[in-house]
Symmetry: C2
Subunit: 251 residues, 2 copies
């Protein structure tokens, strides 16, 4: 299995052997986590967890126990913003959904590598831009899409993101989330998630058995989700071909 982080970054920039080695080196020392285990504890604020395999999520609990998931991480994802090291980040938790391989990279190390390898840096920043777009899209979904559209949108998003890193098998992919997780992800009750899912099945848009998601027709599902086909950067790659970007130190 090739390094998931590398695979992701290479969607934005073309790397040479040196860069590939540097990225691989970053991920050396990754450790395995079990399912439903916390990662990126507040205890180590200077460290960025990078998910090399598995699924994880970021969430917040309200005082009465309501949970909202506000980040879903797939292979190759950074579980924290690079500059997030500045903050205590005590306002949320990060947990695995499946057994996962996680590299805990000190920010200093990461920034050092980015400093030395401009192409890696550019890919990293482009990657963050994508994460932000994702976050904005979630806000749009939660605020203005119906439960049905929201679910369609989420399933599309996950499928496309997984496919982008080579983890989709044709029109199928893993979706190791319980209906409760899906609910906390999209602001719905478990029961309603169940009903919406069935509706999507009845409409012939998806199949879902166990944690195996199959999308009958991405185009159709996208339309049902009012998904902007460009937003995941699946056609154009931001940052590419714009010449040398300006530079500045993080701090």
């Amino acid at each position: 299995m090739t390094n998931a982080l590398l695979r992701k970054l290479e969607r934005f920039e073309t790397f040479g052997r040196v860069e590939r080695d540097a990225v691989a080196h970053l991920c050396a020392g990754a450790i395995h986590h079990r399912s439903d285990e916390q990662i990126g504890q507040a205890g180590q604020p200077g460290v960025i967890p990078i998910l090399l395999s598995g699924f994880a999520y970021r969430f917040k609990l309200l005082s009465d126990g309501r949970r909202q998931i506000h980040g879903l991480f797939l292979s190759g994802d950074l579980c924290r913003h690079i500059y997030g090291f500045l903050a205590v980040q005590g306002d949320h938790g990060i947990r695995t959904l499946t057994p996962s391989l996680v590299a805990s990279v000190p920010v200093t190390t990461l920034l050092g590598v980015m400093d030395e390898h401009p192409r890696i840096a550019r890919a990293m920043w482009a990657n963050m831009v994508g994460d932000d777009a994702l976050m904005r899209e979630w806000v749009v979904s939660l605020g203005r899409r119906t439960a049905y559209e929201r679910m369609a949108h989420l399933l599309c998003e996950v499928f496309l993101r997984l496919r982008a890193v080579g983890q989709a098998d044709g029109e199928s992919c893993e979706l190791p989330l319980t209906q409760m997780d899906l609910g906390d992800l999209m602001g719905l009750s478990t029961v309603h998630v169940n009903r919406v899912l069935q509706q999507l099945r009845r409409d012939g848009l998806i199949a879902l058995k166990g944690s195996q998601l199959t999308i009958r027709d991405v185009a159709v599902l996208s339309r049902a989700a009012d998904l902007d086909p460009a937003y995941l950067g699946l056609d154009t790659l931001p940052g590419a071909g714009q010449g040398a970007p300006p530079r500045a130190r993080v701090a």
Copy 2:
């Protein structure tokens, strides 16, 4: 009137005259915009609009006209992430809510200043961390808070953010949003916004006439909103007293 950006950044770092001048210099050449005018057009991707006075918002439209606002900008706010220059950013628009003074700062200039003034850089990054926390909190609100809590939370947030930059008058502040804007901000219909607002008034938590918002008791309203008192960094200032952070080039 002192520079709003400077005021904001100085919440995170203590500046000397040199830094203050540098920040002020960044904002030279700011231009006035009228109400309901687009700023930060896609045409100039390398430029970051900085709001020096007034109110603005960032939004996305769905294909059938539904609008979701996913960013609210007050004096001193950057309307775009620093690294956002990498992307086309065509997925959303930014508009003023009131007459506003906006400095359009080229990313190169901004990064140059940050490169030269570490304290400014640190403050900028800390500021971005705060923006991210805000975004996450919005997701939580939209997903898991009731309309009543959501509204309470938003009003608290705006008031606290304005107070932090000296734009609150005691327990009152400006809120130049129509009920329709509020609805698009929090994923509610205009009618429901109206009803929730009235309930908040009846409960004695707020007063709202015209664009003047008065909060009877921030603590009580916070509790109604299930607002985490620490999340706006209103007690502790992230980044302060952590020693010299590591460094890396943006690209």
